[in-house]
Each structure stands twice: as structure tokens, then as C-alpha cells.
Amino acid sequence: MVVLDAHSQMILEEYRENLPLFREAEGKIVESIKAQLNEAGILVAGLESRIKSEDSLAGKLELKGHKYKSLADITDIIGVRVITFYSADLGKVASAIDRLFEVDWENSVDKRKLLNLDSFGYMSLHYVCRIPGLPYKAEVQMRTLLQHAWANLNHDTGYKSGVEVPKEYIRSLNRLAGLLELADEEFGRIRSELADYRRRVQALVASGNLDDVPLDGETFRSYLNVGPFDRLNKRIASINQAEIQEVPLMPFLQVFKGLRCNTLGDVARLVKEYSEHAYQIACYQMGLTDLDIISSSIGPQNLCIAILLKNGAGKHGLRYLFDALNGESEGNDMLADMIIEQAKDLPFMNQ
């Protein structure tokens, strides 16, 4: 049972009286942080908050109540935790918090700077901030996802419970902290390298050096941005003066890979070589209809049909195409049969 002196009892009473205000302030603080992070384009893994419980406050006052003149001296009545994906984002979040709140620098801690060069441990940023409109304080903790995992697991072991822990155990925990710190750095490095790769690919696509660009999700997305099928789609649309509905074309990545394209250059050559054939398919299918709406997938779809027909892939190849684009279905068999039948009348199949 917690036993408090009269001074601590007064602080506890002040806490109880102001609890509704703290609840209101907690929501406002979280919302303002969310908005600020959103505006700065910082994606975070989590945002948690809590109001210090009465039991926790009483325990703190029992241990060191003499330290606190009033409730305003307690630095974490409201606690907020921002969990980032990358360690590089911690600085950005800290800067956002600094812009939002009045930071009490005397009580704020950057544990990253306190660690000795030869030791590992829980690294975290803690900013003590003034609760807007109130003479009380909130603590904002900023950690990466891996630091958060380490801190939680470490807490769960009871490492800081006051019970003496064998040195081997502490050594194991520190080794784990070092491993996670390394992993944090690696994730950051991979992110930077991916961003570099993306920029280089965009430059190569823009310069037209497509044979130097391997075909993968990232490069194909960049390639789609330059509209490789636009000309073909416009030509097909002109058959019935149709409107073109733009739709995602990423599903064609797997199809082009299946057609043994290893680089964007391979895809570009197929577009050049088979566009006329793809147009002939559209003329045959749509010429006698009044359909005046098409999706932007019609160009690449007909292109793939033409490649398969011209290279003798037959019904099996066409079924593969429709299964890849539309999902497996018995109806795709019928479509493959229909295309095989139509192919007999297509000019490019009779040349």
C-alpha cells in the first residue's frame, strides 16, 4: 500500500481535479502531432499516448515526493510515443515536435548522445513539452520500431525491476541492442539505396537507354510513366472514336517477364514490333461494333495476344495470358478459343 505525506497528497489531489483537462489535452496533442507529421510527409509505424495513472503517480510521489513542489514538476503527466520506421526519421519527428510545442530542454534527453562509445542500450529521444494552455508537462518519446521492440522486450524481462540480474544476461541483452542498432542502420541504408536506384532508373528511362535497365517492379513502374502504350491505345481508340479509361498496367509486368523480357529494352522492342498487329486485332474485334469506351490495358493486352499468336504459343499461351491478367477462370478457355478462331482472319497471321 502506498503511503503519502501531506504534500504528496496535495499533488495527487491536484492531479484528480485536472484529470478531465488532461484527457482533453491528450487528444489534442495526438491530433496535432498527426497533422504535423502528415504535413511533413513523415510516415510513422505508430503513435501511442496515455495519461499517467493515479497509481503510477502515487508510486512516484512515495519514492521521491520531496523532489516535486507541485504537479507542474512531474514531466510525464501525458505521455506520447512516436514510433518511426527508420532512424533517419527520428530527427525529422523531433524537429516537428519542436515546432509544435514549447520544449523544456533542461528535462529533455537525447539518449543517443549519452551512450558510451563502447556500450549499447536503449537509445531514444525524450522531449518534455509544455501542455498547450496548461501549466503542466507532457513527455514525447521518439523511437524506431526496432528500438521500440527492444525496449518492450527488455521491460518484459524485468531488467530494470531492481532485482540483480546475472552479468551474462545483461551481456546478452546488450548484444541484442547492438544487433538491432545495426539492423536499424541497414534498413536506413537499404532505403537510401532504393531511392538512388529509383532515381537512376528514371534517368535511364528518360534518356532512352532502356537496354541497361533490368525489368522489375520499380523499373516497369517508371517505364509506364513515359506512356509506352499511349500511341497504340490512341490508335485503337480512333477506330470508334472511343474514350480511354486509364487503369493500372502493373499486372502486365508478370506477362512481359513470361514473354522472356529481361530489360525494358526488350519490352520496348516488342511494342515497336507488334503494335501494328495489336491494332489489327482491335480493328477486327471493334470495327463492327459501336463500342466507344476502352481501358488503357487494351493496347498492352492486344500486344501480348499478337506476340503469342505470331510465335505459335497457341491456346495454352493465350490461356496463360488471360489467367495472368484476369485470374484463373474457365471463361478464359473460351476467350483463348475465340482468339484462335479470329486469328484465321487477321491479316498479320496470313502474311
Binding site: 463500342l291 476502352i294 476467350l335
Partner: protein, 101 residues
């Protein structure tokens, strides 16, 4: 052209009957608007008795798909005939929808 809308276990089912040509589409457009209002959930378009679909019909389907995508819902097309499947493939609409049966 008839559109019968029912709700079964939280799923909206619209049974389409007849020819979805341009005049019919004008007639049934309000019913598709009511389907769009339900598009935060699953909407099934049962095309078992749909004999034909025009560009106007494709536009109604597309508008419903957009509404569902915006609301986190889903549109499933069921029981389409071979003729309508051909129209979907020749316009590049086939892979825009979940097609079952």
C-alpha cells in the same frame, strides 16, 4: 431491362435482365446510383440473364467500380455469358473486375 436489387447477409446483389443498351441504361441509371451508395460493401452484379451490354452499360459498371474503390468496397460480376465476356475483353475491361462463374 430490369434490375432487381436485394440484400443478402450484408451483400448487395443486383440481378440484371435484358439488354443493357443506351436507352435502357438511361432508365436504370438511378438504380446504379443507389448501388453506388451501397458500394462501401460487396456489390454483386448477377449477369445470368443479361443478353447484351453497350458502351453506356460499361460506363455504368465502371462508375460503380470507381465508387467501390473510393469507399473500400468491391464489385463482383457473376455469371456473364460468353458474348459479354468477349465485349469485356475487346474493350480491355475484363481485368478491371472480379469475375466469377
Amino acid at each position: 431491362m430490369n434490375v432487381n436489387i436485394e440484400k443478402e447477409n450484408g451483400v448487395t446483389i443486383a440481378r440484371l435482365e435484358g439488354r443493357m443498351d443506351t436507352p435502357a441504361c438511361l432508365e436504370i441509371a438511378p438504380m446504379f446510383e443507389s448501388l453506388e451508395a451501397e458500394a462501401s460493401g460487396v456489390v454483386i452484379l448477377d449477369c445470368k440473364d443479361l443478353a447484351y451490354i453497350s458502351s453506356s452499360g460499361l460506363r455504368l459498371f465502371l462508375s460503380l467500380r470507381k465508387a467501390a474503390a473510393g469507399k473500400g468496397g468491391d464489385v463482383i460480376i457473376k455469371n456473364i455469358s460468353n458474348e459479354i465476356r468477349q465485349i469485356f475483353v475487346m474493350t480491355g475491361f475484363l481485368n478491371l473486375f472480379k469475375i466469377e462463374g
